[in-house]
Amino acid sequence: MKREAPKSIADYSPLFFPGLMLIVFFVIPFSTMIAVSFFQRDPSGFYTPDFVFSNYARFLTPFFGKVLGFSLMLAVMVAICCVVIAFPFTFLLTKRPRKVQTIWLVCLLSVLSLSEVIIGFAWSTLFSRTAGITNLFVAIGVMKEPVALLPSFWAVLTGMVYQALPYTILVLYPALVRLDPTLLEAARTLGASPVRAFVNVVVPALRNTIVATLIMVFVFALGSYLLPQILGRPSHWTLSVLITDQAIYQSNMPFAAAMAVFLVLMSLALVGLTLLVGRRENAL
């Protein structure tokens, strides 16, 4: 059966249900959120319809600037750590037998699907004083007595790298598994050591993939909403945490919505950039 253009209304019928669901339950909620970002906060209830810019004006406060700056810095660090660990790992993984790859992929998917609540709880246990990793250090004589490693910035960073690492590997996997093996063989034949062939041939060949992955992981890390709260101090809160906090605990929906709109625009711009980078790669 060739692909054909739809001719009658009946040909469009498979689209009715998915189209309706996506418009009613995604486009409309999204638009509602944008509308609410211009509403006036109502301390007694949710909000009152209005058209004000005061929610956006709050972006200009030093408090918001600090949260935004911290979120961006944290997401950049997570993205760099993840790609640095994941890129050589994924490359080596694609060279392993199929069975080994399958087992790794199952494990990575299992960790990736874990709830942020569980990841937060697991790391808070590992970093705790009574059940934590420092007990191990005491046992082998590196430390005198166990200490709590949280709340701290490093705990937040570790937790978020843990959360994003399987994602990074799975984003890199298709590109690396499809990498032309003759590229590497040629380099090896010409006398390059494996490490040198990797650094001088594989990494430059996949430069755009690396950039695109960095951006994808950055956006992923921006979305982390619980780990900074569980593993960090209030000064380690990110934009996503602040949005949740404003919406649920401060019941300031309009301000939360305004921040969400800002986060969408930033994420969309970055995802757009990834597509642009990807297109250039295809053109080469």
Partner: protein
């Protein structure tokens, strides 16, 4: 030799990093008393029984399972006709729906959650259990949409053409040729959506968090008031469910292909 050793070391380090927090959680979940201690003091599986015996945890477990089963089904029901249409017809503007289907997954989750919260609050259904089913279905539609698109792309069009030449109409072709061929992709799409819905916190919290507790919500609420070992046993239970589901997909399907390897040969 040295290289093999270095590679093993590297793989072991990554594996340890990924496994360490889960090992500790598994360890504290078998503590005999209610303390947070590792290595565990004594051995007891009582905290696993607690998931099913304690009415609060059991209620959360049932809420989570019913949500995941129905939301994943709805997500597949939305994704299947859409993926089929995109494969069957040339209609460039219909790609808008594909982008809409991918968006909730790429954007930070808090955005979908907040959109749903404002929507259900505005329409007056806020807090109804079924609102979470729809919200999760939309949030996770990306997964069946991606696996089904891969499935349709893998169908040899000449098979379908042969059926059509021999007189089968669209419906017959769909039922006898297309659906059997994409069944593995249908199942994995459902499985992905199911596992992720089971684990999802923020969308569930912002839609039904104040009326009904799912397991992740229950764990987080418990975490805020201190520690109970049941949190640890539930976490281990979650890891086991995910590993089981993805293990089954790998056993009966080709997980490498699902994740983007071109062919099953390598």
């Amino acid at each position: 030799m040295k290289q093999t050793f270095l590679r093993r070391l590297y793989f072991t380090a990554v594996a340890l990093f990924l496994a360490a927090p889960l090992i500790v959680v598994a360890g504290v979940s078998v503590n005999e008393k209610q303390d947070l201690a590792f290595p565990p003091k004594g051995f007891s599986l009582a905290w696993y029984a607690q998931i099913f015996a304690d009415p609060e945890w059991r209620k959360a477990l049932i809420a989570s399972l019913s949500l995941a089963v129905t939301a994943a089904a709805l997500a597949v029901a939305i994704a299947l006709p859409l993926a089929w249409f995109l494969w069957r017809r040339i209609a460039p503007w219909a790609n808008v729906f594909q982008i809409l289907g991918l968006a909730p997954f790429i954007l930070p989750p808090v955005i979908t959650a907040l959109g749903m919260l404002t929507f259900w609050a505005t329409t007056g259904f806020y807090g109804q259990p079924w609102t979470a089913v729809i919200s999760h279905a939309i949030f996770f539609i990306t997964l069946p949409l991606v696996t089904l698109s891969l499935g349709f792309a893998s169908i040899d069009r000449s098979l379908v053409e042969a059926a059509a030449t021999m007189g089968a109409d669209d419906r017959t072709v769909l039922k006898t040729v297309v659906l059997p061929l994409i069944r593995p992709y249908l199942v994995s799409g459902y499985a992905f959506a199911f596992v992720l819905s089971l684990n999802e916190y923020i969308v569930a919290y912002m839609t039904i968090g104040f009326t009904l507790e799912t397991l992740p919500i229950k764990i987080f609420n418990a975490l805020r008031y201190g520690y109970t070992p049941t949190m640890a046993s539930v976490s281990v239970f979650f890891v086991a469910v995910a590993a089981l589901v993805f293990g089954l997909i790998a056993r009966f399907g080709d997980i490498r292909k699902l994740l983007g390897a071109m062919s099953s040969e390598s």
